[in-house]
Structure formats: C-alpha cells, structure tokens
Subunit: 276 residues, 2 copies
C-alpha cells in the first residue's frame, strides 16, 4: 500500500485508528474456546466489528508466538483474512525486529513476502544496516522505534550527546537512510505527548505510529494537537481498550463501540485541522 | 541450565564454541532438498557432526520465520532434537526481541516455555521493563545486545553522554536489574575486540556472547586475550564459517573440521589462562 492510499482511506473513514491485536486466550470469552482456532476466531470477530472505524490493524507478534505453531497458524489466518476481506486497511506486524543485514532481510521476507503485511515495527539499536533491508521493499513500510510509551523508555532513549537525546539522534539519522523519505515511519508513545512536538520538528512530514492511548494512559487530544499534519501523519493505536472492552459474549459489539468513540474524536480533530 | 553447568561443560569439552544455525535453503546441499523437512535435516546433521566441539547452539530465528509455518515447524524440531539428544548443550534463540512488559512476557513464554530454549537474545532500546520479564525466568538466561558486530553499530551504540557511550550505559544500567547478576549475559561483537576490555571493566564476571568471528572478520585470539576469566565467561559464535564450510554432500564433515579447528584454538586459550 502506498502512503497516498493510506491517506485516502484515512479521509474516507475520517479515522486514524489502528486496532492492536494482542490476543490473550485468558481474556477472550469462554464461548470462543470451543472453536477450533479460537485465536483467529477472536481476531476475525474483532476485525469485522471494528473495520468501519479503523484504518489499520496491528497484530502483536509476541501474542501469537507465545502459542507456538498454533499461534503462527492463527497469525497466518488473521493476516490472510485482513488481506482478502479488507484489502484497504493498512496491516502492521508489531514485531520490533532488529538484526544485521542478512538476518534483517530474512525478517523482511517473513513479514512482507510470506505473511504479506504492509508494514513492520523495527528496533534501531543496531543501526543503518539493520533497517535498510526492510526499506528496500518498495511496496512496504518500516516503522522504527523512536520514543516508546513504557517506563523503561527513560533508561536509554534520553541518553544525550550535545543535548541531542538518543531518540532524536535516531530520528535525525534514520531519516537520511535509503528509502526513508518514502517508506519510513516512527513509533512515538502517546504517554509522551509533549515530545511529539520535538519529533515533529525533526520529521515534519513522516507518519507516526502512536501506541499508548487508553490502557497505557496516553491522551488522544494532546497527540492530535501536536502530531497532525496536512496528510494526517498519525496512526493512533489502541489495543486492550478496544479488544477487551468487554470480556463477555458481546465483546465484538463493545469493541465496535470503543472503536467508534475513538473514531468520532478523530473525526473532530481531522475537521478542526481541516484535513477533511 | 545453570551457569555452573555451562562452565562444567566448557571445561569438559575444552571449548567455548557456539554454532550459529542460520539456515539458508539456497546454500544447503541439493541432496537435502529431497528430504521432507530439509531445514531440520540440515540442522540435525550439523548438530550431530559438531556436538563434540561445541557447547552451545544458536538458531537464528529470522532464518526459520522466513519460511513461514514450515520454518516454525523446523525450529520446533531442531530445539526438540537438541534438548532430547544433547541435553548438556546450551541453547540460544537468537531472536533479538524487545517490547513492553506484557509483550516481553509473551516472547519469554514463546521461547522459554513453548520452545524450551535455555536463553534468548534481547534488544535494550526499550529499557528495564522490556528485559526484566525475561530475567524473571529463573532457569533461563537473557542475553542483552550491548555492542554489536555490524557496521551500523556505530550509528547509535557510541552516542555518548559525559563520555559514557550508549553501550556502556546499557551495561552499567542492565547489571543492576533484578536477576541480572545470575542470569544476564551480553552480546559483544568480535569485530570490536578492543572494546571487550571496556566491557570487562563494567561486567567483569558476566558471560559474553561474541558473534562475528569468521565471516564477519573477528579475531578469536584478541577476544580470548581480553575476554576470558576464571569461569571462561565467553561463548564465541561462528555460523557461516562452520555450517557452510562446504556446500557439497560432505557439508557435515567440513562443519566438524571447522568446529574442531576453532575448538583446538579455544583449548589452547583455556590452558594458557589456566581455566582447564
């Protein structure tokens, strides 16, 4: 999917919502445990219920890998279902991979060629040759960790040389890499809304994937105020706040309501900033 | 496996060799393509041939994931084979995972509970709460990226605050985390042999996993001279130099020879340093 197609869909749905699929078998309704592939069935019902309000889906790969082979099969079925039934949505493998060149190429093949995701999250620690193999895929997008939403973000991401914090150094360096202008996005945690201004001063035009709204305490208004640009430029993720809005048999309806509520807030912001 | 059991095995085999399993179907002998599970069959023959000389095996997870479900199955068979036939060897999932707490726990379950690896490689970018969930597994070891062997290592790992480079900050911070003293090891690239002295000044007693000997240009003598301590404290990895020593039908014999040659060098160093 191109950036243009993503922007078009954002305007059409009046939404920049990404739904995170962090599937925990202990939290899904009992009735689904009777299904042969309960992980996939849960994902399918969440997707069907929230698709009118979401422009992106982000399976969290750890939650699938934790179930071994059955989890990997459920991941394959989930991405196949998204690609066949909702080809207009942007699909993100939240994998946070990062390794040297020849290994990075393998991860890119796993998620772009085998599984047919549009995008993958990648960690920056190993530098340019660990990220460029992903950027070499011209129909895909790479989403680099810059400033994360967790408490541990403060351990290293603010390590500063000449007043340049590591997360700023990552942004300044990565934006110069081959293919970055067209296909590199960045993860910026919503719990650090003030920092979104700092991020925007370095990458004014890039798309930012913003986790941390909802369960992690991030504030959508602060993110939208500081992060939106003419092409929207934001994908705001909510996982637990949507997929576990109810743990009863009405879980899909509750997920749809939670997604719609966020979409309505997003629509107001898109209108306020005259993007739609 | 405990650290004591690992040290015992190192002394018994007079080796601190780790064999990296980066299985590329394009590089394995044609005869193996006739097998039903050629990835696993290649790993099995490499393991059987090199086990007298190696104390650890390190499947590179990307190379398995790149083959989708078949790759994941081959990974399961490979680790099961190691655990059932060579329970004394130390098994490392080279996965370089790193994510927030609840997700990190899932990755830990995937590799420690589901697949039964002894250890996993983990990236530090997201800080304490992304690593401690791995350290909470008391029978397993976590191997944190500190200084990597690739060119991109220089992009961020030397970013310095008050003359403390990021990789040094990672070591200084991580060694204080819960469980680190007993169960945290570090990745230090062999292409930076001089830096091993700097690493040893911060973590004098820890085990270091050292990739980059062989194909990546690292020098075993420089690593051993600066890195060995009374408990050995090193696992030196070679992947391509061993598993692709020959691409003909004698690949396992060639792998054994390459492994034996490294083991002989290691034995001389263990004797020189009076560890055995």
């Amino acid at each position: 999917m191109t950036r243009g197609q993503l922007v078009e869909q954002i305007k059409k749905k009046a939404s920049f919502l990404c739904v995170g699929l962090d599937v925990d078998l202990e939290k899904i309704p009992a009735e689904l445990h009777k299904e042969q592939d309960s992980i996939f069935m849960f994902c399918k019902r969440i997707i069907d219920a929230t698709a009118p309000y979401a422009v992106a889906y982000k399976p969290n790969i750890a939650f699938f890998e934790a179930y071994g082979l059955a989890g990997w099969q459920a991941l394959e079925r989930t991405i196949d279902y998204l690609n066949s039934h909702y080809p207009e949505v942007f699909t993100i493998a939240d994998a946070k991979r990062g390794d040297i060149g020849n290994t990075a190429t393998r991860y890119a093949k796993a998620f772009f060629d085998q599984l047919q995701f549009d995008a993958i999250t990648v960690a920056p620690y190993m530098g340019q040759d660990s990220v460029e193999p992903f950027l070499a895929f011209k129909n895909n997008h790479t989403i680099l960790l810059a400033l994360t939403s967790n408490a541990g973000a403060s351990d290293f991401q603010f390590h500063s040389e000449n007043d340049v914090a590591l997360f700023e150094k990552v942004l300044k360096t990565a934006k110069t890499w081959q293919g970055a202008e067209e296909r590199l996005m960045y993860v910026v945690g919503a719990t650090k809304a003030a920092a979104i201004q700092a991020v925007r001063s370095i990458v004014p035009h890039a798309f930012l994937l913003v986790p941390g709204v909802g369960a992690q305490g991030g504030n959508l208004d602060a993110v939208a105020e500081n992060g939106l640009h003419a092409d929207c430029g934001l994908l705001v993720n909510s996982s637990r706040g949507i997929i576990y809005a109810s743990q009863g048999s009405d879980f899909d309806l509750a997920a749809a309501n939670a997604a719609q509520e966020l979409q309505a807030q997003m629509q107001r912001w898109l209108q306020k900033k005259q993007i739609i």
